[in-house]
């Protein structure tokens, strides 16, 4: 009886979500413009994304990367244009996960790692229900996927930066997200921590999960992603790194904030906009 009520609740609850149209691209962004009080943030952005692709979104601070992600996630209403996820507007989808920048999270919040991952599942449980065993199974499976099972019962502030990032990826997995939007996941992480995240991403790609990542490091973007997007209010380039990270387009994106140093074997592009003072290299 209890199970019957549970199933009924779940059925009536999940009916609200938008269906996925088979032929439509996973993500289609059409003529998106966003104005804030301070001015134009995104200017007529257009692109399509196929299922299973991984894209690095690169651009200076204030280029509109977070805004673009929030519009795609359906959290922010664009002034103009249309976003479609598998043929329907994002407002009906719960298969999009936005992973916030770590600096925007209250790490003193009284929650364990498992609690935070469980948050990704709450709309799968149905109204008035607390997490059941099935839900916890998914949580621990997701934590296992990002190699954090041992930390499940820790308070979230006890994690290192890389572990915090992986916890949020586990939450996106628990959410059963088909499109993950990772906002500056590599900020402040050392190389081993970055590599662990890249490993997880490679596995996600095998499972046909689509990932968009915003980042500052041009070299990492060029080395690790077959598709990159150069953004500064306008979409300046979208494609393979060799075609997008050209001197012309980079100058356009970074304006005065990128300097080119000619070396013996290659050219170094050095940015001065970035928070960590790290350099960006391109060939």
């Amino acid at each position: 009886m209890k199970n019957l009520i549970k199933t009924l609740r779940k059925k009536s609850f999940s009916r609200r979500y938008a269906p996925h149209m088979k032929d439509a691209p996973l993500l289609s962004v059409q003529d998106i413009s966003v104005h804030y009080e301070t001015g134009l943030v995104l200017d007529r952005i257009n692109f399509d994304l196929r299922r299973g692709s991984a894209v690095a979104v690169v651009g200076p601070n204030g280029a509109g990367k977070t805004t673009l992600f929030k519009v795609i996630a359906g959290v922010l209403d664009p002034g103009e244009g249309v976003v479609q996820i598998s043929g329907h507007e994002p407002g009906g989808h719960t298969c999009i996960a936005y992973v916030p920048q770590r600096s925007t999270v209250d790490w003193t919040f009284p929650a364990t790692v498992a609690d935070v991952v469980m948050m990704g599942r709450i709309n799968k449980m149905g109204p008035f229900l607390w997490p059941q065993k099935d839900d916890w199974d998914v949580v621990y499976h997701s934590l296992d996927f990002v190699n954090l099972s041992a930390y499940a019962k820790r308070q979230i502030s006890e994690l290192s930066g890389g572990q915090q990032q992986r916890m949020f990826m586990a939450r996106a997995l628990a959410q059963e997200a088909e499109l993950m939007l990772l906002d500056e996941p590599f900020n402040g992480l050392d190389v081993p921590a970055q590599e662990k995240i890249l490993e997880i991403m490679a596995t996600l790609k095998q499972q046909n999960v689509t990932v968009m990542i915003s980042m500052h490091d041009l070299r990492l973007a060029a080395e690790q992603f077959d598709r990159v997007m150069l953004l500064n209010k306008k979409l300046l380039g979208f494609g393979v790194p060799e075609e997008v990270f050209t001197r012309d387009l980079l100058m356009k994106a970074y304006q005065g904030h990128l300097h080119f140093v000619e070396g013996e074997f290659d050219t170094l592009a050095v940015g001065d906009d970035c928070c960590e003072g790290d350099y960006h290299e391109y060939r």
Partner: protein, 291 residues
């Protein structure tokens, strides 16, 4: 007199039994809702809301000619309206949120005192409104307090996961298509109802202590939100009972006695968490010391 007598003697007075019940109920509700207040950093909002119900209570007091029981409804109405107004104003306004809250808080409080000051017996009534009179709770009032306490706790349990996500990560709540605006206002209304329920016990002046002190003490002792609510509720209700006994034997006002006991619990929790952190640090130092 032995300890059993010390505990049982006050219970022979029915006003004391009603007072203890009211103190325990309001303690539980305040601590549970107070967890959201503490975690979301709404202490100032809670304090302001408590003070802002004064004009409503004062008008009710004048109209009903000093009857106590209808005051609950006047307080509830004012609290709900003010919480929604603050919620709306702090969203759209060009001034900062704490400034907006401060203006409404001070204006409403002044209005309340102005209205009460037109009554002759004003100081006695004002003292009750400001600092509470839990021992003056009537049977009917106790029933109202009980019904609303149960309602608030049931709503918190029913929407536990929605409130959890909304409090920790509003963006996630939005991507999961939870109606964030509705739950945000529901949370404010729950805080308002809690203020109205506790008005009789601690008064408007000390309400913020009941909202934040037990919850803050619990925050120092646990790393999970539901445990924080349970611990907070225990600390608050124990503070209520001990406070009332102190009030009975030492002859101090009941509201301040309850708050002082809760503050004592907070200091103990703070000391315990300090010792625990230091122990963890020294343990980890020993671990990395070379053999």
């Amino acid at each position: 007199m032995n300890i059993v007598d010390l505990i049982l003697t006050p219970l022979s007075y029915s006003f004391m039994v009603r007072g203890l019940t009211a103190a325990v109920l309001t303690g539980i509700v305040c601590a549970v809702i107070g967890v959201y207040v503490v975690v979301r950093g709404l202490a100032f909002f809670g304090d302001a809301l408590a003070h802002s119900i004064l004009p409503g209570v004062a008008v009710g007091y004048l109209i009903t000619d000093g009857a106590r029981e209808p005051l609950f409804w006047w307080g509830t109405g004012t609290a709900v309206v003010v919480s929604l107004v603050i919620g709306a104003v702090s969203k759209g306004a060009r001034i900062k949120q704490d400034t907006a809250i401060g203006i409404i808080f001070a204006g409403m409080f002044a209005l309340g005192i102005a209205i009460i000051s037109t009554v002759k017996s004003y100081t006695v009534d004002l003292t009750h409104f400001l600092f509470g009179d839990v021992l003056g709770v009537s049977g009917n009032q106790l029933i109202t307090i009980a019904i609303f306490s149960v309602l608030i706790v049931v709503l918190v349990i029913a929407f536990y996961k929605e409130f959890l996500v909304l409090t920790f990560d509003p963006t996630l709540a939005a991507t999961l298509r939870i109606p964030t605006r509705i739950f945000e206002y529901l949370q404010l209304v729950l805080i308002a109802l809690t203020v109205a329920v506790s008005f009789q016990a601690v008064g408007v002046g000390l309400m913020v202590a009941m909202l934040i002190t037990p919850a803050a003490a619990a925050f120092l002792l646990t790393k999970r939100l539901p445990i924080m609510m349970i611990l907070g509720a225990i600390i608050a209700s124990v503070s209520g009972v001990i406070g009332l006994y102190i009030s009975y034997y030492v002859n101090v006002a009941s509201g301040p006695a309850i708050v002082l006991v809760a503050t004592g619990f907070f200091v103990m929790a703070w000391g315990y968490s300090k010792i625990r952190t230091q122990r963890i640090i020294s343990d980890s130092k020993q671990e990395i010391r070379p053999a």
